[in-house]
Symmetry: C5
Subunit: 353 residues, 5 copies
């Protein structure tokens, strides 16, 4: 969740390919799916000697690249599809701000796949780059957290699916839609955490509650940074800025935009819910301090005068008439009870007890 | 008031119909009203074998669907009126952000009906979807909290009502107007709660007051999320973005827009009123802590020196000249009174008492 | 200053006339002034059987309606001048947001007259509606707080006044100008209150100071809600959106706009001044708590060791060599003085005293 | 620095001349400078019987009016140069919001000269009005704080100065530039004050520090109100909205705009620096309270058990075996040392001491 | 990191050259690089008698000026390349707000090079001015912190570099890119500091932690002021506002814009992370105060009643029956144990211990 080390790129020529991600090791996996309404062929790609797509066929080709460690693969795609070196650099620089850029021949979309690690409770983010051409779509994943596009792949297997009848722009929508739907999942989990903390705040707030609030705040901040630019991306796609987007897909992209706005709305609502919580905690701590101080004050206010009283008759003066008196001791006991009772009555009246 | 579980939809194809609401059980009720200036016919619809509206009649048809559990009904409406699967999906996904979308043939408006549960003091929200066609209007309610459109129905029964003389766009306005008017009702109730809390804050603030403030803040947040997008909706309708809105209705939609802005203004004012309250509470807690500490300090400052004094003459030294003195004891009593009085005078001067 | 009960209108047809104000009782007073450069006729109107203005005369007619209780009067004006039912409804709904709406034939402006009740220190607001026609202006006041337009009336009596030579749009400006000028008056009074509180904060802050700050904050909030939309109103008028505004008047409306912006600037400055005050109060309370605690700690730190010392020699052990010593008692006294002095020196060094 | 009494104008006709400033007494001084590239004539104006500028000469005429008490002077300028009564009113109303207004024949610019009183540390503001015509510029100062335009006057005396070769619009720029440069001076002085307070906060914060922070906050607020509208003014001038601004001057006005933006940037930076300071102070007060309480607790925790111990052996029971023991007293001393030492060790472990 | 003394310029004519930086001493170093695809010549410039670039050659000339002390050099460049005096003034005034200004013949870009001093942890800023002409680029550095353009120079030595094949606008991009990349470096270092503070906050917060938070806040503020305007600069360059920017360079400037937005995003995220930290600290201080007070209260609540008890039997009354009782002393001991144990049990139940 920390800031990526972009500094190792400082001063290099733009377009120099350097991988910034964590999973430098691990093989790069390439999967290819070719489909139209009636046919579908899916196979892993072993070697990348030839360009995978080039022929002007009516089929749609989807190449999914999992893992960015093999720079050779990237260079190959670059030269095959005429992808600009700066785009290749962006694909590797896995701290990209979500954006959509139209390069005429192809459309480049980059965004984050977010998952919440169930054990550590930490957010993980994986960069997903999508290059949409006339009849192909290439997707690049960092390859860290399992394949998020499995659901789309299984929908493709269904011949009746609208996905099969439409172009690669609809496939782009399907992939983006899967990612945005996952954001809802993450936000729901965070909302559950927030409700747990609310219960804690009411029931028995501890310093650990503050830690949880702070952790959630950071996660919200992280999500805010990762998701906020998406609004612009979705809005741009829906306005059909690029001619690679067909008319029939626009209505679906508008739907995607609505979902994105909803995600951001929910995110902001959660952030505002969190923002007031620390004040509640502080007021609860103040209240407990008040309670503690009341106990101390009550005890001191009752026993300090009494201690003075008994100390008085512990003095060794020769001439102290009361000491001789037979009921002196009982008078002191009575007086002590009166003082103690009076104090208690006073505190009751003040609503301290 | 919590975040809806949208995650169960993650990864499904867009347009897949899944109901997200609470009231999955319970029958779906359909009511049909056909009217023009001179005639009105209202009847419940038992079976939906035929399309309810299709004929190009001059009458206005209003179909009200109460309850979203029966997906078959929705599919029927979808095919009869050519409603896009994404719209049907939105009708079912009851966590929609308020919006108005023009699909050419029809206009889709979705917003929230808000009610404040009198007993639990919780806000409830029910999604209302409205589909406006050339000569019909279909309204979908979740069917949770009684029929909010009863008032419009009774106005329709009045032959003199302007409602009867105008098209379905005016009916759309009437339904929206009823909903926005209900927002005022909810805001007034919340304003009353806020004034109660203000009185509490001045009179006798307790930790429970903080809970109330926090609950109200959450409710405001909930309302903010549910109502804020409405401004855009009302503004769009009033600008007559769609050709289904007639000129004569525009002035009424402008009025609706004014009301919406007023609702949002009031909401923001209430939020700001709440935002300062926790500080008032904290300052009141601090003040009381100060009071408690003053009492403790006064008591300690008076009796600690006195205890020392009487302890001094409780010592068992062989040679302590004062002990022999006849007035020694009385001198100690006098000295104690002087010390105690002096301290009280000092605190009085410092305005502690 | 509370939120008006708009809920009683919920569900009624738009254009239904219901009065929402406080002063339902009390007669409605109508005054008519007809003037041009050379003539002026002012008279109260007893009955409203005929339309007051209709003839296309070069004179300007100003009808001022004081009190909104008589719905018949309103309906009469509605039919005489072709005022839309929604406008009539707005005139009666005295919680209108300030706005200016152009209806072609006439221009409708609604805003608030604000006064500060000298005794209770509460803000009062009265809705003023202005309907500007080709050769007439009708003003509606709630009729609560005296006639605010007296100053304009007396200026009209002066034959030399520019007001006499110009049209009803200039009269509109004159009335708006009087109202905006009154805002300055109210803001000055509130600024005085704020300076009083500042002096209190520095001199002797009490819990009552917090109350005053909170009251002022609420009043600022109230003013913010009442005045903020005015910027848009004044800006629209100055841009000459309506053709009922003559060119010669525009320069005066620009001046009005400048004044409005100045009012809002001052309001925001006052709000920001208030916003920091509670923090000052809290820091002052914390400081005083610190002072109290220091006194307590100094006393305890001096006398607790001393009490132990004298308690030590109050023990009844058989064999305690010091007790036999002739100067034992004086040594204890000396030791006590040394301990006490040492503590005081220590606290001095720590700058506690 | 307080809010000006605009209320005395309430209800007067617009264009009524009333002076709102402080320096009502004191003579009005008028200075005239006529210059072109080769000639310069500067002289005080004693009587204003004739119009000072009217002839269409190629020379530039600069009339500087110091002091606004003499309304006759203003009326004279008004009639001579056709200045609109509302502009004259604005010149006198010395609480104007900075603005630039184009009246075709002339351009009216009003802004604030700000100075920081070295002794009281208070900000003073003086209104400066500038009327730019085809071949003249009239400047009006309140005449409170010395002549701020002296520097421009001496530059005019230099025949080589670019100022001499250019029109009155360049003179306008020169005067505005002098004023904006003075803002930097004031901001630097305030920045010094802020750094002093920072040192205090770190070294030895006192309640007086809070006062200083609050005073600076108010001054920032005052500056914000006085300077913020200037951005718009400078931006408008630079866009060459008026035809009285020549092309060659535009590049200088763009420079002026840059300076203005820089002033506002610095102002906002200073405001943000201040905004966090009170929190630092509060955390420092809390820390010191913690320290005080630790001392108290340490003392009490050590001596309360000891007092109980010695009190125990001060009891007068007949049968207390320890009292008879020869080493009883020394055991008590040893025990006391152990208890005290143990407590100290415990507090050391807890890092309290 | 403090505010620069711009005041010494107050009142001078615009275009007057005065150096505001720190490094007034120190020689001005001039380096010249001439290159095209096949040739490259780099040499230091000793004397500046002739204009360095003037001939319309196809080579690109890059003049780098290090140090601004020698005003003569600047004047020379001014007259050789027709640079406006105001631009020269801006180059010297080293507190410029980042901006890009198009002067037709040349484009002027000014921004800040930021470095973080490793030892003191302070941010240093050096102003970099770039003047882009048709076939030349002149860069001005303050010359404080080593040559930041070394990396670009070494890239120029590589004949294959794209840099060699393109115009001076691409060189401009390269220089800007190096500077923006350095911002990432600085932000990463600050992010590390923030994570250190987070660990401190959780582990063992001290008053020094508050100091660190405050220092970081100031640094963020400093960066915000220095970097925020850059967005506008990069956005303007990418929109190709100037005709000195060739089409082939635009895509690289768009990339630069993306990087700039990413820098600002990261900066804001860091600022928000910091903003919540002081609250965490305060809540931790409050918690510790609570702990301290609990210890005090527990001790006092146990030993005050006990002290009263033993004081009671230390009284010297003649008639106190318990004193005679053989087990009196042991009863007191037992009672003391019961009271102490009871109190401990009570505190355990309240979860104080």
């Amino acid at each position: 969740m920390s800031i990526k080390k972009r500094s190792k790129k400082a001063g290099l020529a733009p377009g120099t390919l350097i991988h910034m991600g964590r999973a430098k090791s691990g093989a790069t996996r390439i999967d290819l799916v070719e489909y139209d309404e009636s046919h579908l062929e899916a196979r892993p790609v072993k070697s990348i000697e030839q360009c995978l797509v080039k022929k002007p066929l009516p089929t749609v080709t989807w190449v999914n690249v999992d893992g960015l460690a093999d720079l050779e693969v990237l260079r190959h795609f670059g030269s095959c599809y005429g992808i600009h070196p700066l785009v290749l650099e962006d694909i590797l620089a896995t701290d990209q701000r979500p954006k959509a850029a139209d390069y005429g021949e192809y459309l480049y979309v980059v965004l984050k796949m977010i998952t919440l690690d169930a054990e550590s409770g930490e957010l993980r983010s994986e960069q997903v780059s999508l290059v949409l051409g006339q009849n192909y779509l290439i997707s690049f994943q960092e390859g860290l957290e399992g394949d998020v596009f499995e659901q789309v792949r299984s929908r493709l297997n269904n011949e009746q699916a609208r996905l099969r009848a439409m172009g690669p722009d609809f496939l782009l929508h399907a992939l983006l839609d899967v990612i945005v739907d996952h954001y809802f999942l993450v936000l729901e989990q965070l909302a559950d955490s927030i409700e747990d903390i609310e219960d804690e705040l009411i029931g028995n707030p501890t310093p650990a509650t503050v830690q949880s609030i702070y952790q959630l705040k950071r996660q919200m901040l992280f999500l805010h940074k990762a998701l906020w630019p998406l609004r612009e991306v979705a809005s741009g796609l829906q306005r059909r800025d690029s001619q690679l987007i067909r008319d029939t897909t626009v209505i679906y992209l508008r739907d995607l935009y609505d979902h994105t706005v909803q995600v951001l709305d929910t995110l902001e609502t959660l952030r505002e819910m969190l923002s007031g919580m620390l004040d509640i905690y502080l007021s609860s701590v103040s209240n407990r301090l008040n309670e503690v101080m009341k106990v101390l004050t009550i005890i001191a206010t009752i026993f300090m005068p009494l201690s003075f009283l008994v100390g008085l008759y512990g003095m060794n003066f020769k001439y102290m008439p009361e000491l001789e008196w037979h009921y002196g001791y009982f008078m002191v006991l009575l007086l002590s009870a009166l003082i103690g009772g009076g104090m208690l009555f006073y505190f009751k009246k003040r609503r301290w007890i």
